[in-house]
Symmetry: D2
Subunit: 148 residues, 4 copies
């Protein structure tokens, strides 16, 4: 089943406003109800001191993937913000491409909980480098400027 | 008491290798034993969909601050990597400048635990926008390429 | 300034309904606006495999302290539930008494963020054994049976 | 393939020393390499203020499940301690029985990362009530009394 084109358009429109995604060259590579994938080619200027992608950059991509996964299940006029997330770094983020896949594990009226995993493409195989669990909040109308 | 110049030089040398810090225009603004501050001027190209600094960018700066705070208490030939961190977003990261301050709350031989807080400069006052607790790992010699 | 007696009574009434607190012999030892302390005498039947208090028991006390700290700043007819928390274990929970102190670092209409620290009394001195950051949710009226 | 009886015996021997598990009536219901299940019947004296199992009790069971999942992949003479964990509470822990299932997602020489999910049996069906990601540390010989 292909995803609802309106849903995809709505996610892409918000994603396009996340200027940091373009700055990092991160692309939205999949949108399904409750699931989103974002891909980031490795860049040597986004590295930590050993040349691997910085954990914060990995987290940035994971967080956006979680946010938009939650967003796919929210009302059409809602906004989404991150309440909190935690990342465990499993392996150095070495390779040619970062792939972050997020899914909603609990969709609530106000709060959604998402999990996401990050993989690096290493010699054609995916290596699991990080995992995130986060809470995303649905904001409606006038709440969009504040939080909570 | 002013900090040990050798310690500061050691931190600055590693920090200079974190290419992402230069890419984001983040500066190391204070180094003390067990404490580090990193400052990032607001940039519209590092924003989420509402124009605030993206939570992942805030986390990138907090994570580096935690890593280097832990690094100041490690042996001179050690390296540091992040094991995990969690961020709670307290308020939209609006303002002219992000200031991240990290401190070690437990220094161990292998693992250190750090806490860090992020503030945005808003009309001259600091607004608390995020808090992080993370675990940092000390790597010695041959371990520097792997982890754990 | 001594705390509002009505506030203390409201917290004590809810605390009395947390049957697990009596089961563990945990006592509410301080209630202030935005701050709560809970104390648990060491018991050998609440231990992990090395005889220290189990990390989950430490977390149970920290979580209740966070929840009631948030509760002190909520409307009088509200309820509170935990959304998430993270604990870092800093040292074995050895000693005669666990003291958990929580404080609200962000009080919101719907969500509050709390931090809490756990100390064990060891030879008369407090040893810092764990730290928690958690998100607490305010529930009003009909929401009390569900969440989010 | 049935699990190695020596492995199961080793896990059961350590589990038996976790006095809190007997105090709570929690049973080790499955042990496989890299996976552990613990089950806890609902008890009204382990509740929070609305009569549901307290989030800390849910966490206690999840944490032990994570610890023993990691332990199954460690050398026979090693010990295990929790470094940190984070729990997201997804739904009220109402029902007759809590089932916690943990699995290792990264097994390292020193650190292992585990994920665990908690379900409550409600009218014969399992309801997902909480998820945990945690870091477990392998201790060898003389390290067993300290950490890190």
């Amino acid at each position: 089943m292909s995803p609802d084109p309106e849903l995809v358009a709505r996610v892409r429109a918000s994603y396009a406003k996340q200027t940091v995604m373009a700055t990092l060259d991160a692309s939205l590579t999949r949108v399904e109800p409750g699931e989103v994938e974002i891909t980031l080619p490795y860049r040597a200027d986004l590295a930590q001191q050993n040349g691997f992608l910085h954990a914060g950059i990995v987290s940035t991509v994971l967080d956006s993937a979680c946010g938009y996964a939650a967003f796919t299940l929210m009302p059409a006029d809602a906004g989404v913000v991150s309440v909190e997330f935690k990342v465990n770094l499993l392996s150095p983020a070495a390779g040619t491409r970062l792939i972050a896949r997020a899914r909603v594990i609990r969709a609530g009226r106000t709060l959604s909980v998402c999990q996401a995993d990050a993989f690096m493409l290493q010699d054609g195989a995916e290596k699991h480098v990080a995992t995130m669990t986060g809470t995303m909040m649905c904001l409606q109308g006038g709440e969009l400027k504040g939080k909570g």
